[in-house]
Amino acid sequence: MLSLKHRFWLFIATFHLTVAALHAAHLEEWFDEKPWLLKQLTAYGDFTGTGNIFSFFAPHVGNEIAVVYTLADGKHQEVTRLEGPNTESNRRIQTIYNFFSIEEAQPLLAKSCAAYMLRQHPTSNMVRVTVIDKKIPDMAAFRAGSQPRWEPFLVKDFRVTR
């Protein structure tokens, strides 16, 4: 016979893993509006790590995105990129840039990036944010001579108003 303590912890384990399975199966997308119970399950998932989906590189691999900044102070201009001190840091910058693939996120993200660059370069009073993505041809096209190329898909100018 299982003791009460054993039963309790078995129930907790089952509940925990069920929440993990439901979230992995995109539970939140099943409903148009979040019912009360789903909100509680989402909160539980957020805090315990059972609220994740695991769509790494799925269902397809997105284009690589890069951002080029053109900083100007009225007399000079400089074209630069934001780079961290190491690969882990750059990986996170890249992950942030990947949000540019979501159209609704573009204006706010461009503004945030521009503001950060202007703070880093206080002598500049204008920045152009150029977001580009790398179009990689499929293997057959590459064999036929097509080459990967970077294409801009968002250009936004920001000026210091102070």
Binding site: L2, H6, W9, L10, A13, H16, L17, A20, A21, A24, A25, A43, D46, F47, T48, G49, T50, N52, I53, F54, S55, F56, F57, A58, P59, H60, V61, E64, L82, G84, P85, N86, T87, E88, S89, N90, R91, R92, I93, Q94, T95, I96, F99, L108, L109, S112, C113, A115, Y116, R119, K134, I136, D138, M139, A140, F142, R143, P148
Partner: protein, 319 residues
């Protein structure tokens, strides 16, 4: 049957390995990111607090909660972020050595959660799994073995049903992760025709080698794609069956090692190998230690004894 599967007593070696390896990985990651804290998590970082706090649910702990503290104390918010990161690294240090294990795990989990909520746009798989792991370090008995708290010459590792239950949760969670990841990949045509492999290896953010030659071997890209799907979707089957488990474990470790080598995702690969080793690979790691490292240490000990004996008796015999 439920009792035998979930509650048969076992020792806590695998869970201790999990604790130590996760703490070590967290420390490495923290050390790597310390120079970019202001940019990634600062109040005026790439994604400033004014933006992140508007997106993240208000009940989620986030760094912008430090703002009133900064106002009250006169210490800048950026300094407080660095102090919090310092506390996070200290708690990981305590978790590593097993001192105040549960408290250390709780503090590390709470701070890591706060950081990833604020810097959620820059977070990727490795943060997800550290978060899962730190939560498990609070709940599971990860500090029963190889821990400062339990340091005593008299005590031996005690077998407990809670070790088994914890391992089962870890194992089932890992199976869910791989099946979900594999199923999502299988929905995309790119994983069937090899384009996912080609596209990934051609991206500058991942590629470590010039892989253009792969376009001439599309079948190779296809086979790698299919193997990934087979490994991920088939994970629960080959990892649970005792006869295929060692091969499955080695295969999944090789998959993650390849991701580290060819895509430069070292931390992500490391944490997945840690999860797999704690959940399924610990007995193999232990037996590898006893069959490879232990004999080497024994041989060294014998050599040393031989040397000492030679010295001790050298005056009695003509050499």
């Amino acid at each position: 049957m439920i009792r035998r599967f979930f509650l048969a007593p076992s020792t806590g070696g695998a869970l201790a390995f999990f604790r130590i390896a996760i703490a070590l990985l967290g420390l490495v990651q923290g050390g790597w990111l310390i120079g970019s804290i202001a940019m990634l998590y600062g109040p005026e970082g790439l994604i400033p607090w004014s933006v992140s706090s508007g997106i993240v649910d208000s009940y989620m702990p986030q760094l912008s909660w430090l703002q009133p503290v900064a106002g009250a104390t006169g210490i800048s918010a950026a300094t407080l972020v660095y102090a919090l990161m310092g506390l996070y690294l200290c708690s990981l240090g305590a978790l590593l050595i097993g001192k105040f294990t549960r408290y250390a795990a709780f503090i590390a989990w709470a701070i890591q959660f706060t950081f990833i909520n604020t810097g959620f746009m820059g977070a990727y798989g490795v943060e997800t799994f550290i978060h899962i792991a730190l939560f498990y370090c609070i709940i599971m008995p990860v500090g029963e073995v190889f821990a400062w708290d339990k340091l005593s010459l008299q005590t031996k590792p005690v077998e407990s049903e809670w070790n088994t239950l914890s391992l089962r949760v870890l194992q089932i969670h890992l199976c869910l992760v791989y099946v979900a990841s594999g199923a999502e990949k299988a929905m995309g045509i790119q994983w069937w025709n090899g384009e996912a492999i080609w596209q990934t290896l051609m991206q500058a953010q991942f590629s470590r080698f010039d892989m253009r030659w792969m376009a001439n071997f599309p079948l190779l890209a296809k086979v790698i794609g299919w193997s990934t799907l087979a490994l991920e979707i088939g994970y629960p089957f080959f990892i649970w069956w005792r006869r295929t488990r060692p091969y499955g474990y080695v295969a999944i470790v090789l998959l993650h090692a390849s991701i580290a080598i060819f895509m430069g995702l070292q931390l992500f690969s490391a944490i997945m190998i840690i999860f797999n080793t704690a959940a399924f690979g610990w007995p193999y790691l232990k037996s590898a230690y006893y069959s490879l490292v232990q004999p080497l240490r024994e041989r060294k000990r014998l050599q040393r004894a031989e040397l000492l004996a030679t010295h001790a008796f050298s005056h009695e015999f003509e050499m």
